[in-house]
Amino acid sequence: MPRIIQNARDFLFSSDFPNDKIIKGDSGSFTVGAYNSAFPEIAHPFTFAPLYILKWSTNPNFDNSFDEIGVSTLDNIQLNGQTDTSKLYLFANNNNGSAVTFYWRVLYFMPPDVMASALPTTKDFEDFNFNTDYNYPKIYLEDRANSSDASIIHGLGYYPQVEVWYMRTDGKLIHLVDNELAFPFKPSADITTSTLTLENNSTSVAYWYYRIYADET
């Protein structure tokens, strides 16, 4: 039976589409002194470089929270991540005049080209795994793009929610969380109502992973 695409975003669940499955969560904290940097390495149990979403805060309760932020920002404190087949690598900069404690949380996902076992994560998270109080992002297209540049036609007719990761030629997997139109040396992803365009912009991208959801952002 073909998948029903029309109005998929109007449903909280749709068994026509896969949903995200969090295969592990992790969290921690570390302190970086004034005008200093730190590069913690956190082991993960997988044999592949997992897709990840990293959040961080300066507050243990995450009252304020940030996505990964790149180098060129207004903020005096920054945290970025990478994964490979053994670890999560964190890169923290503190350009303030006093020490800062970084609190981080990471969610891991299995890449679409990996067919491996993963322990259940039900007990690690919310009381309810599925709860109709919330929407569950429906994965409309998910794949690995085996080229340094790629164009993926989705044809949804609206701007969909998209997640993108790129694998560098050195084996480090990076979640794309920002873009630069003018600056040429950083991978980028553009979205229109019909297409997702991935461009390496003269960087060492080996391949991409992308998820296009049948949900508006």
Binding site: K21, L74, M115, E180, A182
Partner: protein
């Protein structure tokens, strides 16, 4: 069991959208003067009912049509130096970010990259930045 064999499976936790498809925009007006050593040009707050949330957003400027994945948007903003008309008009990089600053507030900031010792800059072209964002629950750990 292998997660990629299943469409839905309650053995694994899933992302839960708390808010979805929200729109926020801000405008940087032509004629606005700033000093690059104090680079924040504009910021606006939006109150939303986020709970312990992560943020995913994408945005576009009024000048460029493609929407960009992620939290920051870079584009070229024509500027000039008011005290030195002879310097002409040139481009600076515009930076935007959407952050969760409290359990109930998001902040959209627009600015340029930090610098020091630069003269005052005047923006030559009005730009409106539009973001569409969703929030999702961050697992309590």
């Amino acid at each position: 069991m292998k997660p990629n064999e299943f469409l839905l499976n309650s053995d694994w936790a899933s992302l839960k959208n708390d808010t979805q498809g929200n729109v926020i925009s801000a405008t940087v007006s032509a004629g606005q003067i700033f000093n690059i050593s104090n680079p924040l040009l504009a910021q606006s707050f939006l109150t939303v009912g986020t709970r312990n949330a992560g943020i995913r957003a994408r945005g576009k400027s009024s000048k460029y049509s493609p929407w960009k994945v992620g939290l920051t948007l870079y584009t070229n903003v024509p500027v000039s130096i008011p005290s030195d008309p002879g310097s002409g008009v040139f481009d600076l990089t515009l930076y935007c970010s959407l952050q969760r600053v409290s359990p109930t507030q998001m902040r959209l900031s627009i600015g340029t990259e930090a610098g020091s010792g630069a003269p005052n800059m005047k923006i030559e072209e009005t730009q409106t930045i539009t973001f569409v964002f969703s929030t999702f629950l961050s697992p309590t750990q």
